[in-house]
Symmetry: D2
Subunit: 275 residues, 4 copies
């Protein structure tokens, strides 16, 4: 399993959320408090949006706590929307092509979780990828395959439906192979404008996922907090586990649901796999 | 494209052929004389047989000229049968899982060449891999897929026929996609006892491949050569390009043929893809 | 030896000069035309200035032609002043701490060349580094040590004099050890505003170094060239070897001289080591 | 801080002690029980003796739990004497030249601990290294410098005295800089025949260190244990923390002492820094 965060809001240096908070993602690479593993040292990745439509990507097989280039990038790059991920492999190789986020055109995708007994279903699932997309798959993870399944099912037109169909397919294929509770996922998707996050598992015991309270509310709660004062009201964070211990700052994404982070109010929907 | 060598004979330290000859594989990583590229700096690998049935494997994404661990291993490991490979990627990622040799059980496989327009045929070829083998594929190269196709076609029982069927399938699938001259390959396979090498391309203009003259003959030609004096008569080398400039030492593997290096006399056969 | 370039001018994406020109630095990593080696595959580095006083640094031990993160960074980061370097080691280890540019505070330093028989003089030269700077040296190269010697001699106040004293010291120490022609260097230094470049060798046969002709002149020469039209007149490049074959575009930095690239006219001075 | 083990005895595959025990070194890379850190993921190294006088060395910056080549090597290389180390950096760079064991000629050295405020004393300590050895130092760690100090003080003739003098010098230099409790060390040294291990800290609260009980005794205690049955009586292990929970198997190396593991009986001596 892994840890991740997604940021949307005032342009900030990546380090403001990747490195500086007490329980930053870098800290979680050694000392995750809510993950299946306390160590998430099997590579890392950051995808950020800037002047171009397609996002920049930095991925490395170093443990995050060791990666000097990540620190440099995080100190010198500003962005209004970025995803960051630290990996704890569930068996597939430690290589850049297996590091999240995955990118296709302007889209980014990252995932914490796994497809159980993936070796048994991988071939069937690969067959469901659109043949025109097939050769773009670079790595060997279940996570990247989930992305390409969702792309094949219309992610760029309707992300929520595509992810529901993707989840439905995985559960159906797993059922054929006699695998119970096949899917465990917290997923984040973005096209550079909107952010979709999903929390779901077949067994309804999904990995932790939190979104930040509205920053205006937070500023009222903590009028002296400088960090809160400096970002816009539209700023939001979604995280595998809280970055700071600030009462009232974090809300659990409910089991089996999707949150759409966009201009104006967030939207929350129940999530149900479609067959 | 790439460069490789296969050694079978008296147990020697790997460095005797990997590092010490004038045009060693390490030298070829910077200054190949017969390759498509002069630089082969996209990773390396060595597979060697020792006490166990299955071979040891060392693979690294460093250029061979830089790899300190390769030098250590080559100086300290002795083996009677080993394969070594330096890579020049034709587009797939630089990662350990894409480095040759590839291993399955007691078998090793390495390749120089490519499947032309691989992105167009990859999916069809993947479908032809035995489903029970599918999830063992770790990387993204055409070379590893060729290995798994041959395994699916009975490599462990009859390597020559399996490779002929693999080549036939690639040519057939490519034909369906309108690709001309799809296959270019020099391949080496071993189970730890026998060594099979193949030189073939659809256009009959295959990459260079040479096998060493019988060492007894070489000793008669060069009675003062100490290196030749120290190895048994059964010793053989197969190489992408000659390691030393020694007249009479190297014989070109003929176009479209297979050489079986084994105890006693080598066997040479014409190679013809089977559909 | 190595290859490098320094850019000062209109803010551009790094890829405009690192990747896109015909004989870009990436191309030179495989096919340098004027270097001691044609391959410069022993690591790379980029230092760039943005919003902060101190520059960002990306350094990697991958060959430049292979480095996916470099391509991402180069496509997504814009800067008005940056240095880039590809390394061909003269013996010291391939590790990030040996990759150029080296940074100290707001200063960057990169180097092509070597101190001959460095093992013989290293200790004496290290002793000449200011004790307060000594423990900031992270790597093992002659290049980084030259930087710290120049810093110890007042680089931040008067770069030209400091480099002349540094060169003088190296020649003096080498003389004590009986080493002839000890120093070979093309060096680039910047504080984020001004760029100093040096071409010198004890034997007066220095490695190649070129600076670009004034861009206004170039635009008059090539009125249809779009690349030239898009950058300001203040834009300058200094390179180990020309990036494009454009007659009139490149001027050799004379033997034993220093060029100061700054707002207004460049300044050129003879360079003479000081003892 | 770090974790390490030293093995001397019947030739075995490295994996027998590196990978297979319940609390193997690989396990300790993620879950050390007695270390300052639970994670030791900043690189690894193995040095082993075979046919040659000088040992082979494999060093990597990967976390041990991730390193595929380590697993291969450990499965295929047998040795009667080897050292293995997993690193948790105390600040110096993660690079091969900073990975233990360090080698000089036939000697290997590895260390767990640190010189406190090393930046303040590094220059003075470097000056105490024999000038003829100085340029052989490849990395930037306190550990390698301790090795070269001991070599300068006659390690190859009298290791115990050399290490006592090295420790004395460090304490003396630190005293001049006003540093209290400067030295913390468990060190292992070998020339391929004898093994010296040291446990010492200025404050007399040294990191954990254990040596194995005589294997004949262990066999009497555990007559059904197959692993114990297969190795000779001369076999010994020295470890940062026990590899298995076997009552009676491990003895703590006393505070401020040195153990000499050699043919016949081990020798234990008090350790006292010499000035």
């Amino acid at each position: 399993m892994c840890r991740w965060l997604a940021y949307s809001g005032s342009p900030i240096t990546l380090e403001s959320v990747l490195l500086e908070p007490e329980h930053s993602l870098i800290d979680q690479s050694l000392h995750a408090r809510m993950g299946v593993e306390t160590t998430n040292g099997d590579g890392l990745g950051v995808g950020w949006y800037g002047d171009r439509n397609d996002p920049g990507l930095y991925r490395s097989i170093n443990p995050a706590w060791n990666d000097q280039n990540l620190r440099e990038l995080a100190a010198h790059v500003k962005s209004p929307l970025f995803l960051a991920h630290i990996r704890a492999s569930t068996g597939t190789a430690i290589q850049q092509t297996n590091c999240h986020p995955f990118r296709h055109g302007e889209w980014l995708w990252m995932h914490n979780g796994s497809i159980r007994d993936f070796g048994m279903t991988k071939r069937d699932l690969m067959l469901a990828v659109d043949p025109s997309l097939y050769s773009s798959i670079e790595g060997s993870t279940d996570s990247e395959l989930m992305f390409y399944l969702a792309l094949s099912m219309g992610l760029s037109d309707d992300p929520v439906t595509a992810v529901e169909q993707m989840a439905g397919l995985i559960e159906k294929v797993a059922e054929c192979h006699g695998i119970t509770n096949p899917l465990q996922m917290t997923v984040s998707i973005t096209n550079g404008e909107t952010l979709w996050v999903f929390r779901y598992s077949t067994e309804r015991q999904s990995r932790s996922l939190f979104y930040s309270t509205h920053f205006r509310t937070l500023r009222e709660l903590y009028p002296d907090n400088e960090r809160l004062a400096s970002v816009s009201e539209e700023t939001r964070l979604v995280v595998s586990e809280p970055l700071v211990d600030l009462p009232g700052a974090w809300n659990e994404v409910p089991e089996s649901s999707c949150v759409i982070v966009q201009a104006g109010a967030n939207e929350m929907r129940p999530f149900e796999p479609r067959r």
